[in-house]
Each structure stands twice: as C-alpha cells, then as structure tokens.
C-alpha cells in the first residue's frame, strides 16, 4: 500500500478491481464503509463475480478474468479523449514529457526487440533520449511525437469502449458509467483509491495489471494524496514483511538484489547500481545503495566482512538465472535435480498450481522438512487419501520430518501489515506439547550445521562458520535481539556527514534510522528500510499511542511504518510546485518557504525546494514513470494479452498467445488447453471466501462450520444448459486434473459476451484439502496451469479453462 487502511476513510471513490476487500479483508473494508457513510464516497466493484464487495457497491461492472489491462487502458484512453487529466500533476510529477529513443515500437501485440525463441525482449530501445548533458531529454510542451505522453496516447487508442466490451465482456454503457466516475477524480480536490490484491497479481501479466492502474492514478493525480494511492491489500499477515526482508530467491533485505554470476566482485556489482540522477537536482535515493548493502553484509558476517574482501561479497551465492522461485523449484524437483526441501509455514501441495506435478515433484526428494503449527497436506503428501491424494506410500522414498512450531499466540515479534506498519505482539499462551518457536528451530539447525562444518570442514564452510550470531543464548535468539539487529547498530561512532561534530550514534548504539548508514563498514543493518524500528528510543513497533491530530488517519505514533515512519508514500506529490496542498482539505505536508512539514514524515529531503526536486525520490528521474524503460520484462507499457488458457483469441493481436514474455517450462505448454478450446469451453477462476483463511481455517472447527464443504459457483444459465442443480454434485476438469464438488447456482455469476461469443464463468474457491476439520475436498489447484507472471512468476490462478458436468452422487 502507498497509503494505509485508516487513510481509506479520506477517499471520494473506491475502485475495487483485482481484489475483493469485503470478502478477504473485512476489517480493512470498514474504512470503505466509513468513507461512504461520512464523506458520501462511492464504491465501484469490477469483477467477474458479483462479490461481497459488490453487494455494498454503488456500481458493479462485470469483467472477464484476465482482461483487466484492456479495461484499464480503456479508462486511460477515456480520460485522454475527454480531457480528464490532472495536467499540472502529470507534467510535473510523471515522465509524460520525457522523449523516448527512436527505435521503440509496438505492433501486433509486440514491443520492439522481441525474440520468439527466447520468449524475451532485447529492451535496449525501451529508453529515453539522453542529451549531451547526460540527462534525459524532456519536452515540457508535450509536442514531441516521441514524448511518453504521445506514445501512450497512441498505445491506448485501440482500447475504445467498444473494444473494452469486446475483450472484457463489460457492456459498453456500464464501462462508460465507470469511466465517468473515475474521470471525475482528475480534479485536484477529488481522490480515488485503488484496492487490489491477488485478483491482479495471479495472472501471467499480473505486474502489468497493477502498472496499468498506477498509470491511471498518476494521470488523475491520485498518488501521494490522502484518500488516494495504489493499495495492494496483500494476502497473509506478514507477507509484506517477508518480502521486505528479501526472503525470495533474488532478493536481499530492503529490495536490494542478490548478485548475478556476471557480477564478479563488489565493484562490478555496484557498477550497475549507481542510480545517477536522470534529471538535474533529483535525489535518486538509491544512490545510497552501497550503504544499505555494506551494512547488510556487516549484519550477516560481522568482522568477517571487511573492505578487503568486498565486505564478504563472495559469501553470498550468485545467481545464474533470474531466480529460483516456487515454480522453478518444483520444475527442478520434477526433473530430479533437487534433494531437500523445507516448508516453513507454507503448504505448497495445496497452494501451488498443478497438484499432480507437485506430488510427483515432492516424491522425488530425498528429504522434506515441515515446520508448521498445523498438520498440512504437504507434510502428508505421501499418504493415501483416496481421490483427494491418490498416492502409493510404498512407492515414495522421501524422508519427511514434521516439526511442530508455535503459532502467533505463543511468540513475540513484529508483523508488517499492508500499510507497511510494523506492529509488535506478545506471547499470551504456553505452546502445546513440544511445539517450538521458529527462531529456536532455525537456531538449533544452524548451530548443528556450524558444528558439523567446524569439525568436519566441507564445501565453503566460511559463510556458515563465520555467520554473525550474536545472541545471548545462541540456541534461542530473542525477538528483541533480532529486531535490534534488523534496525542496525553503529560499529564505530557515526557522525553527520555535513557536520562531523554532530554524533548520530556512538559505537555499539542502535542507529536512529537509515540516514545514519555508512558504506565503510562502520554500521550494520539487517534491513535498511526498517531502520528506526528499534532504536535508542526503544521498540517503536510496540508503540500504542493513538493520537491522530486533525483525524487525518495517519496515526503516526502507533507502531512504526517503514520507511522512516512515513505513512503515505510519495506524500510530497500531495502538494503542487509551490509546495501548497493540491487540496487544502487533504493536506499531508506543505512547504513553508524553508522546509517541508505536516501530518506525516515528508517523503522528500526536508529542505528540498518544491519547484526543483521531484517527489518520486527513489527514481533517478525524480518523477513517476508512465513509460517504464527496460524495468519490466514484458514491455514499457502494459498491453492486453489473453491468459494462457483463454476462451477467445486475443482480439487485438490474434497471433500472440498469452503473455509473450512469460516463462513457460518445457512440457507445461503441452498441458495448456488451446485458445477457444472446444474440449474446455468454460473460463474458470479461483478465489478465497471470507469464512476461511487459505488452508489454515479448515483446521478451525468454527470456520469449518461456516463453510464446511468444497463447492464451485456457476450461473443459472450454465446450470440450465448442463442440467446442474443447486446443491447437486458436479465434476470439473481441466487439461491437468479433475475435481468433484457441490454446485452453487447463482445470479451473481452471469455469462459474458466476449468477441461475439458467450463465455461462461466457473468460480472455484480455494480452501479445502484432506487435513483439518472441514470436509475433505479438492480445491482448484488440481486444475490450475503451471505458468507465472512474466516479471515475478506469480502463478496464473485466476484465469484458466475447464469443462463441467453434473454427476449423480458423492464419490468416496
């Protein structure tokens, strides 16, 4: 989230698209109902299903799953055609005026530089014209036909209301109603918030779905302001935290990136991470990258990280591929190339696509270690559960360890919510049986590994043996100790660079925040963006002061918000070029002639002059990007691509199948149904229900009572066509598997007409499996395709093809 849950109360228009906040985030959705009740705000819901969010909306528009980009670019086109643009914001705070190099093109669904064999682009043409002064060329008049604005205009021109209807199945009049309401927020005194979640991410072009809305919000001037923003609702309680802390193949904490094997040393690594400003006076805050990186290395390897060894640069593994994500992990396992796997609070047998492939993959492991408070299906993948898990244990040689861990109620620590608040919690109960905290389990494993390597030696022992492990009880690190390590410490006295007499932190003390980080090894910091969370003032994550001056919804003294306790990202953009709020009633920070101040921590250098320094301080441009240069694998603008399994061919580029830059493993393509398949004629989508959380609450008896049994949802029309009755049994199958479910026949799903064809939707909720209290059930991942988003490999759970038929009775 750029903003926070409590900030949503400040909005005038809520657009829920790519999510279902009422269903999945009910208590956050409260702030939507508050905005409606107190400000007269309106709620628009755009979804293939008439959801719980839609039930309290002012306007609902149906859309075929996997066509969000066409809808969103249609909205951008509408705003451009109807002059609904916040021009001053657009010109000053986006790269609309930037001139793009000759050679960049988009034609027939493909951008310049496409290599079909590699399913990848040569992105060299996706860039700005750089002037002789080393800065990007801009045209403030927007006259240059190659400026971003004109290229965008041309790019979105095809997405007319008629084309939106043809692709998305959204009736034109309904689309125009949405467009008119959205376009009104181009006024500097109106705000729109975008609330989205996995309904946008779980597509082969998920990242571009989100970019498309971000672009619209920039054109409307809705980023950085109260009641605006791009608000990723996020799924799990600390998935924001685990991502911030870099628990992904290619990340280091704080969105630093792991070196690739082409970066042979620290100098080579830093050579592509200079972040030189692309315009004069810009902060380009990533210029501090080296400070963040070196401080991280010091937290990892302490005294073993020295200037001489590039701060233990070689202790980090180097990537040979873009990343070893979940899908690649199972692909490698499937190929027999992996031996061991750990699942810490993660249940991939249920959660990963194409369950059959996952079972085969796990069966090829030598060992599998489960750490979980609950009895997961993954831990029992080898156990026969009839049709729900049809395996022969005697044929599976994997050794499985099931380690009981504590749950939230039994440990201390912090979680990061979607609004980036780090909130501390305290243990209140004794763990059951022999359950242990994850920190204890990890420490115990580490100490044993260290002992083995110390005694026996072995492959590159240094990175393990010399790991910094500075805890009072090395076998049981305390949450506070780890939190302080994440915050960072001065290893030598740190002084202000501008005024060396001013001491920021004495040696051994906790750092006040990331501004005190240094790149010479004199500071250590586990995760720079969290610095300030636990400093000499104490554990700021545990703060419980609910003061909120003028009720802006900031709650600046409640817990700690990264970065630097900032509550609204890009908040400098809430004010115009003179530093005055675009909307005085919506003030966040303002320029008083010498400095920025207000309700929130300024997202800008406090002394940065408003007419000189742009608000998007992390970008070398200082402005936001409508055209994203070479930063996305699948194009500098979003473009409509059909899902890999689609009921129609792509109306604007019929020859392009799926996202042309999405990775597809050999063998998986053959498991996709063809476009407009006769065999699999129905468009399926998977989703959550409010009564359950993922695969956890089926272990909770009360929640099992609330939604006891797996079902699928279909329209009355499809039910009539197939002879399916309400509450009757159906079989649903895709090219990858088959499930049996109860049928819920509903008016809330209706057939759409797309490209002249009737498209029926089959909705498949997620939550059932073969362990826990609820009735055993299949869930959608017997059916889902094994392909991910082109940029971050989120599987395409939201759009695939199935067939459905009524069956006579319950199966065993």
């Amino acid at each position: 989230m750029t903003n926070s849950w409590t900030d949503i109360k400040n909005t005038d228009l809520v657009v829920i698209m790519g999510g279902n906040a009422a269903e999945a985030h009910p208590c956050g959705f409260k702030w939507v109902t508050e905005a409606k009740a107190n400000r007269g705000a309106k709620l628009i819901v755009i979804d293939p299903r008439f959801t719980r969010s839609a039930s309290v909306s002012d306007l609902y528009a149906p859309i075929r799953q996997g066509t969000d980009i066409a809808f969103l670019l249609g909205l951008i086109n509408y705003c451009i055609q109807n002059d609904k643009v916040q021009w001053d914001y657009l010109k000053a705070f986006t790269n609309a005026t930037y001139v793009v190099k000759e050679g960049f093109t988009y034609q027939d669904g493909l951008f310049s530089g496409y290599n079909e064999a590699k399913r990848d682009y040569d992105k060299s043409s996706w860039d700005y014209d750089i002037g002789t002064d080393g800065f990007a060329v801009v045209d403030a008049t927007l006259a240059n036909p190659r400026c971003v604005w004109n290229l965008l205009k041309k790019h979105v021109a095809v997405y007319t209301p008629e084309m939106v209807e043809r692709i998305c199945g959204t009736p034109k009049d309904r689309f125009l109603k949405v467009a008119a309401m959205v376009a009104e927020t181009s006024s500097p005194t109106k705000a729109m918030t975008s609330m989205y979640a996995l309904g946008w991410t779980q597509h082969s072009k998920g990242s571009q779905n989100i970019r498309a809305m971000a672009m619209l919000q920039l054109i409307l001037g809705n980023i950085g302001i109260r009641g605006g923003g791009m608000n990723a609702l996020r799924g799990h309680s600390n998935i924001q935290g685990l991502t911030d802390l870099g628990l992904m193949s290619n990340l280091l904490p704080g969105y630093l990136t792991l070196p690739t094997e082409k970066e042979v040393d620290l100098a080579a690594y830093m050579s592509t991470r200079g972040f030189k400003p692309l315009r004069p006076n810009q902060m380009s805050y990533w210029q501090n990258y080296r400070k963040f990186f070196v401080s991280f290395q010091k937290s990892m390897w302490g005294n073993a990280a020295t200037p001489e060894n590039g701060f233990a640069y070689d202790y980090l593994p180097k990537l040979d591929l873009p990343g070893y994500d979940l899908l690649r992990a199972f692909e490698l396992m499937h190929q027999g190339k992996m031996n061991g796997y750990f699942c810490q609070g993660f249940n991939p047998l249920q959660a990963a696509p194409n369950k059959k492939k996952v079972i085969e993959s796990l069966s090829k492991l030598k060992y599998l270690v489960i750490m979980d408070p609950l009895d997961t299906e993954t831990g029992r993948f080898w156990e026969n559960h009839g049709p729900y898990n049809d395996v022969d244990p005697s044929q599976i040689q994997t050794e499985v360890y099931q380690l009981p861990s504590t749950c939230f109620a039994e440990d201390d620590g912090s979680l990061v919510n979607s609004g980036r608040w780090l909130q501390w919690h305290w243990a209140g109960g004794t763990p059951p049986g022999e359950a242990k905290r994850d920190t204890w389990i990890m420490a115990q494993l580490y100490l044993r590994l260290k002992e083995l390597y110390t005694k026996e030696g072995g492959a590159f022992a240094d990175s393990i043996v010399k790991l910094n492990w500075p805890y009072a009880d090395p076998g049981d690190p305390k949450a506070e100790e780890l939190a302080q390590e994440i915050n960072g410490r001065a290893l030598a006295r740190v002084t202000d660079t501008a005024d060396p007499t001013k001491v920021l932190a004495e040696a051994g003390k906790l750092l006040p925040g990331f501004a005190a980080l240094r790149d010479d090894g004199s500071t250590s910091c586990g995760c720079w963006i969290y610095s300030g969370c636990f400093n000499e003032n104490g554990n700021n994550m545990a703060r419980r002061d609910t003061t909120d001056p003028d009720e802006t919804g900031a709650y600046s003294k409640w817990a700690f918000s990264w970065p630097a306790n900032r509550r609204i990202l890009y908040n400098r953009a809430s004010a115009d070029l003179t530093g005055k709020a675009w909307d005085p009633s919506r003030k966040v920070i303002e320029w008083d002639g010498t400095k920025w101040s207000g309700y929130d921590v300024p997202d800008i250098l406090p002394m940065a002059k408003p007419d000189q320094v742009g608000p998007f301080i992390m970008n070398p441009e200082g402005v936001s990007r409508l055209f994203t240069r070479g930063m996305m694998r699948d194009g500098p603008f979003p473009a409509h691509y059909e899902p890999f399994e689609s009921p129609i061919a792509n109306p604007i580029a019929p020859k392009v199948r799926g996202n042309p830059a999405a990775r597809v493993f050999e063998g998986d393509m053959a498991q996709f149904a063809e476009s407009a398949s006769q065999e699999f004629p129905y468009a399926a989508t998977s989703y959550r229900l409010t009564e359950h959380f993922h695969f956890w609450t089926k272990h909770v008896i009360t929640n099992a009572v609330m939604q006891p049994e797996f079902f699928v949802e279909i329209s009355e029309q499809l039910a009539a066509e197939k002879g399916i009755t309400k509450g009757g049994w159906v079989r649903v199958w895709s090219k990858r598997g088959s499930v049996v479910a109860k049928a819920m026949v509903t008016k809330r799903i209706r057939p759409l007409t797309c490209d002249g064809k009737t498209v029926h939707i089959v909705g498949i909720p997620l939550h059932w499996g073969f362990t826990g209290a609820a009735k055993k059930g299949f869930g959608p991942n017997m059916l889902t395709p094994f392909v991910g988003d082109a940029n971050i490999e989120t599987p395409e759970y939201k759009a695939f093809l199935v067939n459905i038929e009524p069956i006579t009775g319950p199966v065993a």
Binding site: C27, S249, Y341, F346, Q402, S463
Partner: protein, 199 residues
C-alpha cells in the same frame, strides 16, 4: 380481522397460554424468581490480557488474548478467549469471521505437538525426539550441500551456490523469525528460496 393460523400453531399457542398462566397462579412463579439467574457470570473476569495481532490477513487487526495464567509471571498460560482490541486504530475492536474464531486455531485438534518422522516407503508418521530430528536434518543438509555445492561456475567465477536443497518461507512468521531464517538459508548458499507472497 381474518385470523389465518395453522392448526398446530393455534393449538400450541393456546395450550401454552393456558398452562403457563395457571401454573403461575398456582404459586410456582414468584418463589423461583430469585433463583432465575439468566445472566451468565462474565467469563473474562480475572483473566490475563495480552496484546497480539491477528495472524491471518494483512489488515493486521489488533487482538487481545485472554488467558488463565500469566506468562510474564512465569506461569503456564492457557488462552481461553480472543477478541478484537478496540484501541487498535485499524480494526477498532472488530474482527472478521476468521479473527473472531482465532481461539479455535490456537486449540485446533490438528495442531502439531511433537516432532515426527515418516521414513522412506512408510505409510505412517512415527515420533522422534527434537534432538534426533535436528541432528538428522543437519546431517542431510550437510551431505547434500557438500556433494552439490557449486563454488565456481564454468568461467571460474566464484558463485558459492547450493541449489539442490530449497527453502519455502512462510507468510505469517514474524520479521524476527524471517530474519533469522534469512541468515541461516543465505549463509548456506541457498538460492531456491521463496515465500508465500504470490499465492
């Protein structure tokens, strides 16, 4: 007015009125009034409160754990009730159907209590001590790492990676758990590393 009632409703309401009223008049009513305590004793009286955060979605509602026994006094504590924390700015005491039933997660019959091992080809889990489980896992890790560690690539560049064992991290563990996990996994050279952000 046309009174349209089913026979059964008619009979039962009629009978009820009769018997009830008469029994009351016979003196069974007032004498019992003093004992008719319909109101349950308040079940949170004398419990210990602990502030926590709902572990499900990322709204991160504030919750209060009510327990018998106080961990901070070194006592064993049994959680008896969980409800929303009104002091929390986001949820203001409210909770969704999952959060409202959190006690059932803490006390789920399918919570894991003891380390278990499933041996190759077996059709069951068997108990194992923590000591044995951890020792055995560390040995499996080391053997695999030593055998498959890639110190340099074909160009002779130091790459120090281990890709035959992988780690899937959670989505609800604390930042502190996440950081401890990060240190152990990365220092071992693991690249097959992911979390639940996508699913």
């Amino acid at each position: 007015m046309n009174i349209d009632l089913s026979r059964r409703a008619f009979l039962q309401t009629a009978g009820a009125g009769l018997a009830g009223t008469t029994l009351g008049a016979l003196g069974f009513g007032d004498s019992e009034a003093a004992h008719a305590a319909a109101i349950r004793p308040f079940k949170l009286a004398n419990t210990t409160e602990t502030r926590n955060t709902c572990p499900y979605c990322s709204v991160a509602c504030g919750i209060i754990l009510y327990s018998k026994g106080d961990l901070r006094k070194g006592e064993p504590a049994e959680i008896t009730h969980i409800e929303g924390d009104t002091d929390h700015p986001t949820n203001r005491g409210t909770l969704c159907p999952k959060g409202s039933a959190l006690l059932g997660f803490v006390k789920s019959p399918t919570r894991l209590q003891h380390p278990m091992i499933r041996k190759p080809g077996s059709d069951k889990f068997e108990p194992i001590s923590w000591e044995d489980a951890l020792g055995r896992i560390a040995r499996l890790m080391k053997d695999d790492r030593d055998k498959n560690f890639v110190a340099t690539n074909n160009d002779g560049v130091t790459v120090n990676r281990w890709i035959t064992t992988g780690f899937l991290a959670a989505s609800a563990s604390t930042n502190e758990t996440a950081f401890a996990t990060y240190k152990v996994v990365r220092s071992a050279g693991m690249l097959v590393f992911d979390n639940q952000a996508r699913v």
